[in-house]
């Protein structure tokens, strides 16, 4: 089967759309772009005009009725927090900003003066209240919401579904910065996804590759989106328990799940959970590949061995 693909950028990262019917590529790409743009307008913390920025502008307790899309993104983030025991928490906004990631990453200085940081747990997701039926949201004073951990994966899932709806038949794969979601009919041999530490990496002949037919794949890594302050390396995955970049043994975790959102929740939580992550993923029945700081790999939950090792 001949696949067709388009590449672009969105949400501060790469956007890759693949379809099984080359004639449908433009339609699918347009549908993906529309969803991604809408997520950006609703959820970005780097845009003053985003709905999230406007919602949480000002001091004190904030509240309001939000759009269906922002409500969905908030519900997704809160579900992530609940299912991970708070390891993936949308109230990390102030912590990630204090760590130096306070603008779109392309504008974050690679190096800078030392930061004075304290170990302070983030406020916690229970200080955001969402009433889905009315889309009413209440955010307690001092809580800064960052949907970055789940919004990109949600965008991938929504975009894949929208693209499949737009083209009417066949299959679609959407990859937003390493968050992969597929919809519709997979190619006969499945969607082949190469796993890397950096989503910008080129496909290589010896790169570990898996095949999926549905759901999603997500990779979280501390090796990208890094910056230095006072000689200390920082990364963007915050441990809610400390309010500081996660310091566990895993540098990169990839998970396969029924949706890209769930894969992303699990991969991010695994980085935060550290030493207990492999057992947690195994117990959750999630195929996962974990890379520790030395580069050693651990595969759990039915993650397939690379082809060279399977014979």
């Amino acid at each position: 089967m001949t696949l067709a693909a388009s590449r672009g950028s969105a949400l501060g990262t790469s956007m890759h759309v693949v379809v099984t019917d080359p004639i449908a590529l433009d339609t699918a790409t347009a549908a993906v772009a529309e969803v991604v743009a809408a997520i950006d307008v609703a959820c970005s913390r780097f845009r003053d005009d985003s709905e999230l920025s406007r919602l949480q502008a000002g001091d004190g307790r904030r509240e309001g009725i939000v759009s269906p899309l922002l409500a969905l993104a908030l519900a997704t983030a809160l579900r992530a927090a609940e299912l991970t025991g708070g390891a993936v928490d949308p109230t990390v906004g102030e912590a990630v900003r204090n760590a130096g990631y306070d603008v779109d990453f392309e504008s974050v200085a690679a190096d800078g003066a030392p930061l004075r940081l304290a170990v302070v747990p983030v406020p916690g997701w229970r200080r955001i209240r969402l009433y889905p039926a009315t889309r009413r949201v209440e955010i307690d004073a001092g809580v800064e919401v960052d949907l970055g951990a789940t919004a990109k994966a949600l965008a991938a899932d929504l975009a894949a579904a929208a693209a499949r709806e737009a083209i009417g038949s066949g299959g679609v794969l959407v990859n937003l910065g390493g968050d992969v979601s597929v919809a519709g009919d997979a190619p006969e041999e499945g969607w082949h996804v190469q796993i890397a530490e950096d989503s910008r990496a080129a496909i290589t002949p010896d790169g570990e590759t898996i095949a999926i037919r549905e759901g999603g794949v997500a990779t979280s890594s501390t090796t990208v989106r890094r910056w230095r302050r006072g000689g200390v390396e920082f990364h963007h995955i915050i441990d809610p328990a400390t309010g500081l970049p996660a310091a566990g043994p895993w540098r990169t975790v990839t998970v396969v799940a029924g949706t890209c959102v769930d894969a992303n929740i699990a991969s991010t939580a695994a980085i935060v959970r550290g030493a207990t992550a492999a057992a947690w993923l195994e117990a959750s029945g999630l195929p996962a590949r974990l890379v520790d700081r030395s580069g050693a790999m651990t595969r759990v939950g039915g993650w397939p061995l690379p082809r060279a090792q399977t014979s």
Binding site: L69, D206, A211, I265, P304
Partner: protein, 107 residues
């Protein structure tokens, strides 16, 4: 194995369909999709809750800038984030780098 999901009750299904129908006017395709998804999320996030009497009118602006107004019946006043009780699982098999069409990595 897929995580068990609670089935929508007929009342929930009908309420979601009515809400979607009313919001469709004035909304673009994305707004409609989001509303439909939110209806599903709302149904899943109110497991075990009962419906209270009364109505509430809400307005929202879709990405197109069009404003839609709807009247719907609120659920309980208790907020919740609980959806499915576990992460959905997936499966993968060994793939071929020569067939790889994309890369999953950190970003």
């Amino acid at each position: 194995m897929a995580a068990p999901k609670r089935r929508l009750t007929p009342a929930e299904r009908d309420r979601g369909l009515r809400l979607r129908g009313r919001l469709t006017t004035g909304f673009g395709v994305l707004g409609t999709t989001a509303v439909a998804l939110l209806a599903v999320v709302a149904a899943h996030t109110h497991a075990g809750s009962s419906t209270s009497a009364g109505t509430v009118t809400t307005s929202s602006v879709a990405s197109s800038g069009a404003t839609a107004t709807t009247t719907t019946t609120p659920s309980t006043s208790t907020s919740t984030s609980t959806g499915s009780s576990s992460l959905s699982t997936g499966s993968a098999s060994s793939g071929s780098s020569s067939s790889a069409s994309t890369v999953s990595g950190g970003s």
